[in-house]
Amino acid sequence: MVKKKVAKKGQRKSKVKGKKDNLTIHFMPYSEIAREDSIGRIKKIMGVVLKNKIIILQGKLRADEEARLIENSMTLIGNIEGFAGVEIATISGDTDGIGVFERVRNNLAKILVGEKDAITIIGPASVVKDITRDPKKIELMLSGR
């Protein structure tokens, strides 16, 4: 879990880091999270998001990791000034219409090297207003800066 800094009375809340007028995109190759456990992955992702950067992650998180990422974000809202949560979207490789052999090969590759045939975009809600996703397209709407 990401360490939570709770502001006590009279204490200043921690702030989201990063320059306000800059937009930074952080590419995270799958190898960077491959050996991490779920907690480590989320900690790494939240560390970047809290610096006001947008992550382009090669691969995707598991459903339980996404749920944990949401839980984690929720605990930080109100405790970190300027943080209102995250926007997240994943786009996966198309497996429709492929043969059985190809499907088995893909699944085997996923087990061996992880799910690399996907791209996940994660950004702080203060920077990314909305992400709309169609099956083959992701559109980012940035907040007025």
Binding site: R62, A63, D64, E66, A67, I70, E71, S73, M74, T75, I77, G78, A84, G85, V86, E87, I88, A89, T90, A125, I131, T132, R133, D134, P135
Partner: protein, 213 residues
């Protein structure tokens, strides 16, 4: 702290109820998809009373709401449900969004805090469901990560899912798009507000029950 203990006790109590043969039916989805509206519609149909308050303002439901012993009858078969209406799951909660609905800053901040706690509770309750209705607003883009995350977590827990596309009474409703986004699931289009297509919904609900543990 009291809230956490109370929620834990409710979850424990709900687990105890599971032994009595009721189906714990969860309502999940994004805020304002119409979860409480559908739960109310079911309660009105079979009990003649509402379960919760409905509002245009997002995150109206910020605590788990349970209605026990809702007996639904279809084709001579009766099933006893515990309806569990959950707060809408979102990846972000900004108190400033509530200001647009006329709330004062402090009220908005308090509502945002409760909303974040509600989302955490909803996620925790995923472990306790026998079957789940994933509620979507058929006028909105169905390819939302929240919907995918909810369904992914239910599949991992082997909880059967029925996708319900709400608000089919509205012009912008696009049920085909919802079906296209979730080709592996049964999708039933309804209007929880005016009760449109509820017969088909109950039929699909009974099919869902058959797949429940």
């Amino acid at each position: 702290m009291i809230k956490i203990i109370r929620n834990f006790a409710r979850r424990l109590f709900s687990k105890f109820l599971a032994n009595k043969g009721e189906i714990k039916l969860g309502f999940y989805g994004s805020p304002n998809a119409g979860k409480t509206s559908l739960a109310n519609r079911i309660c009105q149909d079979w009990l003649g009373e509402d379960l919760g308050i409905v509002s245009r303002m997002p995150h109206e439901t910020r605590e788990i709401q349970i209605r026990e012993d809702v007996v639904i009858e279809k084709n001579g078969k009766k099933v006893n449900f515990n309806l569990i209406d959950t707060p809408g799951i979102a990846t972000k909660v900004d108190f400033e969004d509530f200001l647009k609905f006329g709330l004062k800053k402090k009220e908005a901040q308090s509502r945002a805090k409760e909303a974040t706690q509600g989302i955490i509770e909803s996620i925790k309750w995923l472990d306790d469901m026998d079957a789940v209705i994933v509620m979507l607003d058929s006028t909105a883009n169905p390819y939302s990560q929240v919907n995918i995350t909810i369904i992914g977590n239910l599949v991992a827990r082997k909880v059967p899912v029925l996708v319900v596309a709400n608000k089919i009474d509205l012009k912008k409703s696009d049920i085909k798009k919802v079906k296209g986004a979730f080709p592996e699931y049964e999708v039933v289009g309804i209007s929880a507000k005016n009760g449109e297509n509820m017969e088909e919904f109950y039929e699909e609900l009974f099919k869902l029950v058959k797949r429940a543990k």
